[in-house]
Symmetry: C2
Subunit: 471 residues, 2 copies
């Protein structure tokens, strides 16, 4: 079914039926891709302040067969939040639905509207003596609605799971304007199909999330972090396994950092202090959250010494205080900044079965070498099997020199990942940039079921047209 372009008349109709200021011209931020590849079409944005307003907007768009692009914080990396072409859609920003509606510290949960930033949710939890563990570099601007729509990951997935694992229930508007009021405070509820998890990760194509019941955790009594130099990814994986045995349930993050990451930081951000005097081929950043009775520093020393005795750990720096722990994380979080400054030929958000990782990294690098002498910066969330395997021009080169190799690079990496049982959309989602990958790599049975579900829940195809499943 063909969608209609949004007309000035329809925008005027919406404006007349909603409170003043709800329908406006979209600002550049509503149309931008953080990596600058695509730009959304200029047009109106709706800024509703209640689920009822969202419902009336969606119902009107359904009647008029006008597409809707839900918009959270605009930080998505796969183009899920913008339509560069096709019939002009309505951008539906949740930014004015930004209240924490309720908090129940004794139940370890809170209810937040979709437009709350992740930072705001973290702060509300902290103010109640609790932890909302989802942690992303973009937490100051990304929203919890977007986090859930994309099932965001980040650095604490190894301990607390991804966004899906932190959600009890949703309030959402379905494609015909029906409101689903599912903001449950229940930990267990098997009354029917799991609509929550179907909407989570659907990137706004099956419903518009307007609020969420979120799971909080106790704050660990103490945190401790170390940077450990390791000889190769296999050592990092074995060290992770030792850490999880020595400290079950206490490893909050276990990040792999390549020597290339440090080199890129040195090239582009010389003010970021290099941790070790000798360059290390690989690092891990391990972060622990511990109960009060455990000796944090001893636990890390023990981990390092166990690793060193087995040749798994070359050197280590223990954070002596919170400031130094923050410095370790600054190092980690500056890697994407350095990458942007170097300029990637192709970036890949992949996941692999854990034990396939050590062989994959050199094999993919070697195969890429047959195309050009690329530099690979591989880093990511080792405990989740989730790597950012990003391919850069040789030193001194520019990504534009390799524009015609980009597709071959992506194909090579993605084909290899798929052949090992991996995913080419691990934590950033599918958006519009990866819909062809889904068609190429998804199980045909799953793809057919996805199409059937989309047709059933959004028969006119108005919700985020072209995202996840291309038309």
């Amino acid at each position: 079914m063909a969608l209609n372009a949004l007309t000035p008349e329809f925008a005027a109709f919406l404006a007349a039926h909603l409170p003043e200021g709800t329908i406006r011209e979209a600002e550049p931020r509503h149309l931008a891709d953080p990596r600058g590849r695509w730009t959304g079409q200029a047009g109106p944005v709706a800024l509703p302040r209640s689920v009822e307003e969202v419902a009336s907007i969606v119902a009107a768009c359904a009647s008029a067969s006008v597409g809707i692009v839900p918009w959270g914080g605009g930080t998505g990396l796969v183009g899920g939040q913008l339509m560069a072409n096709g019939p002009l859609p309505l951008v539906l920003s949740l930014e004015r639905m930004n209240r924490v509606r309720d908090i129940f510290p004794e139940e370890n949960m809170l209810v937040a509207e979709a437009g709350c930033t992740l930072q705001q949710v973290q702060d509300a939890a902290a103010a109640a003596g609790r932890l909302f563990p989802l942690t992303l570099a973009s937490q100051g601007s990304c929203t919890i609605g977007g986090n859930l729509a994309t099932n965001a990951g980040g650095v604490n997935v190894i301990r607390y799971g991804n966004a899906r694992s932190l959600c009890l229930g949703l309030e959402a508007v379905l494609a015909d304007g029906t409101i689903w009021r599912g903001l449950t405070r229940l930990r267990k509820d098997n009354a029917g199909y799991d609509l929550r998890d179907l909407l989570i990760g659907a990137e706004g194509t099956l419903g518009v999330i307007t609020a969420a019941a979120l799971i909080l955790h106790p704050r660990p009594a103490q945190n401790a972090a170390a940077l450990i130099a390791v000889p190769h990814p296999t050592a990092a994986l074995t060290l992770l396994s030792i850490a999880q045995e020595q400290l079950p349930g206490m490893v909050s993050a276990f990040e792999l950092i390549s020597g290339m990451s440090l080199q890129f930081l040195a090239e582009t951000l010389p003010e970021v202090r290099q941790p070790f005097a000798e360059p290390s081929p690989w690092l891990v950043l391990v972060d622990l959250g511990l109960p009060e009775r455990l000796e944090a520093e001893q636990a890390l020393i023990r981990l390092y010494e166990t690793g060193a005795a087995k040749g798994l750990a070359l050197d280590a720096i223990l954070a002596q205080n919170e400031t130094q722990r923050a410095q370790f994380w600054t190092l980690r979080e500056n890697i994407p900044t350095a990458n942007r400054r170097i300029g990637a030929v192709s970036s890949h958000d992949i996941s692999l079965p854990l034990s396939e990782i050590p062989a994959f990294i050199p094999a993919a690098q070697k195969a890429l070498g047959d195309i050009a002498p690329f530099r690979v910066n591989c880093f990511g969330h080792l405990g989740d099997g989730n790597l950012h395997f990003n391919v850069f021009p040789p030193k001194g080169g520019h990504k534009d020199d390799h524009a015609d190799q980009r597709e071959a690079v992506k194909r090579l990496v993605h084909d290899m990942v798929a052949s090992l049982g991996g995913s080419v959309a691990a934590e950033h989602g599918v958006g519009r940039f990866k819909t062809a990958d889904i068609t190429r790599y998804a199980d045909p049975g799953k793809l057919a079921a996805m199409r059937a579900v989309k047709a059933a829940l959004d028969p006119a195809g108005i919700l985020n047209p072209g995202a996840v499943l291309a038309g």
Copy 2:
């Protein structure tokens, strides 16, 4: 669309196209309800040995519009595994698909076929030095396929989540006979809609689960358990909160047991040793899994002493060894047996927001008293807000004396639960016994979405007809 009854001719057709012995007469166990309320219709059962055989059976049934009732271990309590009426269906037992196909201890995962018993999965994990934490009284006979189809809960949900939280991916046969091969080893994968969680908890109405990729956990270095007498459920909740602060991530179970549970055990199972000399109004059974460096006994003593100082704990017995810990669990697991011997007027598998529990219990008891002087046995998984709130005749009475009050009792309890934001199908599922409750209590938007999904994925309605969503 009307289904056709399974005919002898169709059974013969299936038998001719499948290996010998695949199509048989159903045994009584394939048609039985553990609580004896309903009985399935005599007819054939299919016992396939591979996903391909399941696919050809489902495709044949789809062509013939014959219903399929997937069957795991037959332990479901809500009639999801049997059809007492309607056009004769094919019972599809997964019992011969009972291999653990693969195990990756270093990845903390294994792949098990749907017909593996839960015990078998636990044993395979233990043999690899790992823990599969799902724990149910029926684990010797229930199957992992059934556990996933019903999103089973049990006693360790507070720490490890329910069946859904322990599954990475599925292999399943969809309603047209398509095989979905989704046995991923990935921890992070956002490539499309969450078909896994849609099938989990759908009770066989959207697809037949044939195998699952399951998450394993490290085995805690040590376990420790205590029975703590508490004055009332509010004290138990506060004690839980203290336990989670003192021992974050280490509370494996926190079970509430009413004084009535102990009284029922004394009446019907006098051989089960009563823990305390003085009858206590309420007990909690707390089970810890700890890292090696923590002093288990000290941790429990500290918890008790903190509770006692606040008037939350009246008395406590610490398990001195594994035998005594097992005795505590035997006490807990015998409560349903005692209940069966007394004979319930109505049993309720409910969940509530945690902080609503203390007020709910006396309020529901009081309201029930206006119908008859019932005895209520309330016990369950306090940390999950999941109570088994079961209503029994007065001492010396018989459940049959109250048969005409049964519906009113159920309605009263369920209405009160729903008014507090609770669920009337917390961990046993909906099956066929609770479909009217879903219609009554579910959010209308969710119900409409569920119907749309069912129609999309099983347009002929052959998968477990009448379960979850009544015709």
